[in-house]
């Protein structure tokens, strides 16, 4: 067996194992010097990115991948003496999982490149990089796992490492306070999810998502299932920052370093992935998806509107962007919620699937431009030393590249063609309009307000007389921003590249819970 075959057969496990090994080795390697540790961290992140790409390729070519931990060959997902229950820990990789894994590892790689320069000269960097890798592990694990309890474990890894990273720059105790709030809120959420998992386990004797969905479909949707569903859906909606449970978002994103804000933003997209996975695959066959879909739509509308109006008020650049990520999450909830509300009806093929594709494409686009905007905010703070917009001005005189990258990100988030934000917003508007015109109107108004508040940032930070005599940021930060800008322009002009390989498989995978269940319960062959 060659190395290549070995990597292909073990790709889902390696996608978790490699960054985990990287995280545990980083503190030891850091004793050999910062440069060695950086090379190690970046090569681990690069290999993880390669594995995520490989997973996308495998899923697009061979269908859903099932990986069994500790079992002999992959056909041992259901051992013969287990009575038809998948007892082992299983990783199930379908289009949506591979999509989420790809965006998680990409933002991890970009943040790693960015922090080469931005964290230079700060203390406790061995722990910083170990936690960064652990955060990647948490996101990838949430995306790839096919087991409910495993999902909870990775959710905890995700929130704890994110909380620790938020408090990395102590900032006179403000960052620590934000991290404390984030930790408390997410531990309460994780306890709720554990409670829901216990309910489901007590009822169906299984922790495997496919098995639970199958048994729930056979015995019918009971009142206990409803409680479990409410606990899981509301908690994951809180973890992805939907209004009115978004209060931790501006605190957490606002106080973290720039690249960590971008990573936590993608970590909450991983929670969004969990929400969609639960709604479609686990509860989609038995629960009332119409009212569930409308619940998500209303959360999405509130998030879009309140997020953007609150953002206009802010004069702290990171808090402003944090409120915008609340509002962008609203678009995704809206798009996929429309898909969920029409699931199983004839409307689904007319516009529901298209709305879902729009919502999922928006996740990718949001990762790109929101990540870029957080990185530019980090660059500004790196040079100016304050995050208060009132004290900034005239930065475009010297930080020309940062200004250009900021402009690309701002135009993309506001949905100005030909950048990528326009494509997904267009898809959401057109399909959502057919369900209810009011939804599309709100979405368009929110888009305008987004443009207004980013123009406000551009004017007050970059335009005007030269207030600061600063240099351009170091090269590694520019490279990180350049990578994201390149993909923004690429997906704006050739949206079908992302649509064909990433978005359409993800939307089809979500819309087909039966295929997922039969694949896992058929032994994964």
């Amino acid at each position: 067996m060659s190395v290549w075959d070995f990597i292909i057969t073990n790709a889902p496990a390696l996608a978790i194992a490699v960054p985990l090994l990287g995280a545990f080795l980083t503190p030891l390697i850091y004793r050999a010097g910062r440069k060695t540790a950086l090379i190690w961290v970046l090569s681990v992140l690069g290999f993880t990115e390669f594995l995520a790409l490989l997973l996308v390729y495998l899923v697009n070519t061979y269908g859903i991948q099932v990986y069994v931990f500790g079992g002999n060959p992959s056909t041992l997902a259901i051992p013969p003496d287990s009575g038809g229950i998948p007892i082992r820990i299983i990783f199930t990789v379908d289009g949506m999982s591979a999509f989420t894994a790809l965006i998680s590892s990409t933002i991890g790689l970009v943040a790693g490149i960015y922090s080469v320069a931005s964290e230079k000269g700060r203390g406790a960097q061995d722990k910083f990089f170990a936690l960064l890798l652990l955060l990647v592990v948490g996101m990838m694990g949430m995306a790839l796992t096919g087991d409910l309890f495993n999902f909870f474990v990775f959710l905890e890894i995700n929130s704890l490492s994110a909380a620790a990273l938020v408090s990395y720059r102590i900032h006179g105790g403000k960052a620590v306070e934000a991290a404390f709030k984030y930790a408390v809120v997410s531990s309460i959420g994780a306890l709720m999810i554990l409670f829901a998992i216990a309910i489901l386990y007590g009822e169906y004797d299984a922790l495997n998502m496919a098995m639970i969905a199958e048994r729930m479909y056979q015995t019918g949707f009971s009142a206990m299932d409803m409680i479990a569903m409410a606990l899981i859906v509301v908690t994951l909606a809180m973890k992805c920052g939907a209004v009115p449970m978004h209060y931790w978002v501006p605190d957490g994103y606002g106080e973290a370093p720039g690249e960590i804000s971008a990573m936590i933003m993608v970590a909450s997209q991983a929670s969004l992935y969990g929400l969609f996975r639960m709604c479609f695959t686990v509860f989609g066959l038995s629960a009332n998806t119409h009212s569930l879909g409308w619940f998500l739509i209303i959360l999405g509308l509130l998030s879009m509107f309140i997020g953007v109006t609150m953002a206009f008020l802010q004069h702290d650049i990171k808090r402003l962007m944090a409120y915008h990520s609340v509002s962008q999450t609203g678009y995704m909830l809206l798009g996929v919620g429309v898909g969920l509300a029409t699931l199983g009806t004839s409307a689904f093929n007319q516009y529901g699937l298209f709305a879902m594709e729009g919502g999922i494409f928006h996740i990718l686009n949001n990762m790109l431009y929101k990540g870029l905007l957080f990185l530019t905010a980090g660059a500004i703070i790196y040079r100016v030393g304050t995050s208060d917009l009132n004290k900034m001005g005239g930065l475009a005189h010297t930080m020309k590249f940062t200004a250009i990258f900021y402009l690309i990100g701002a135009l993309a988030i506001a949905g100005i063609p030909p950048f990528n934000g326009f494509v997904s917003k267009l898809m959401i508007y057109e399909s959502v309009y057919q369900l209810n015109p009011f939804l599309a109107v709100v979405a368009a108004i929110v888009s305008m307000l987004t443009l207004a508040s980013f123009l406000k940032v551009f004017h007050s930070a970059f335009m005007g007389p030269k207030l600061y005599n600063v240099k351009e940021v170091p090269k590694s930060m520019l490279i990180a921003m350049g990578i994201l800008s390149f993909f923004i322009v690429l997906f704006g002009i050739f949206p079908n590249i992302a649509m064909t390989y990433l978005v359409a498989p993800a939307a089809h995978a979500l819309a087909d819970p039966v295929g997922y269940i039969t694949r896992v319960l058929g032994g994964g062959a």
Partner: protein
């Protein structure tokens, strides 16, 4: 530093707590408990000493960097054991029933419990025990190292 009564009791109890913790770790695959529980019990022993003697005396006996390294080594042992199983699949129990270390076969039926069985599980229990001991110890030491003690 606390009163002499507390210190004497700590001196007396400390070895017993340690032995009990290592017992739980070593028998993790046979009796209730395991790496995490055993490691926590050992860390309780450390906590007892720290509370009884205060940070200034303890810091010359237990180094923070040693505890951090202990934590890293425990985690590494765990993940490397999982990695060696990659010849078949991640976390594969390659030692079970092999006749090697922890590789004895167990016959069916009731038995008093043999320590030399279960393959990689005892190794992972030991690794987790060492990791939890280091991690909780580091938490305690850092809790203690910041701020001054208020004298009453």
């Amino acid at each position: 530093m606390m009163s002499k009564i507390v210190r004497t009791q700590a001196n007396f109890l400390y070895p017993f707590i340690l032995i009990f913790g290592f017992y739980i770790v070593a028998h993790g695959h046979l009796t209730p408990g395991g790496g995490f529980q055993g490691g926590a019990v050992i860390a309780t022993g450390i906590a007892l000493v720290i509370v009884a003697y205060g940070y200034d005396r303890v810091k010359s006996w237990i180094k923070k960097s040693t505890l951090t390294a202990t934590e890293s080594i425990g985690l590494l042992c765990f993940i490397l054991t999982a990695f060696i199983g990659l010849s078949t699949s991640f976390f594969y129990n390659f030692l079970a029933n092999s006749g090697l270390l922890f590789g004895d076969k167990v016959s069916y039926g009731a038995n008093p419990g043999y320590l030399n069985t279960a393959g990689t599980l005892p190794i992972m229990n030991l690794a987790v025990g060492v990791e939890v001991l280091g991690g909780l110890g580091v938490i305690l030491m850092y809790m203690l190292s910041y701020g001054k003690e208020v004298s009453k």
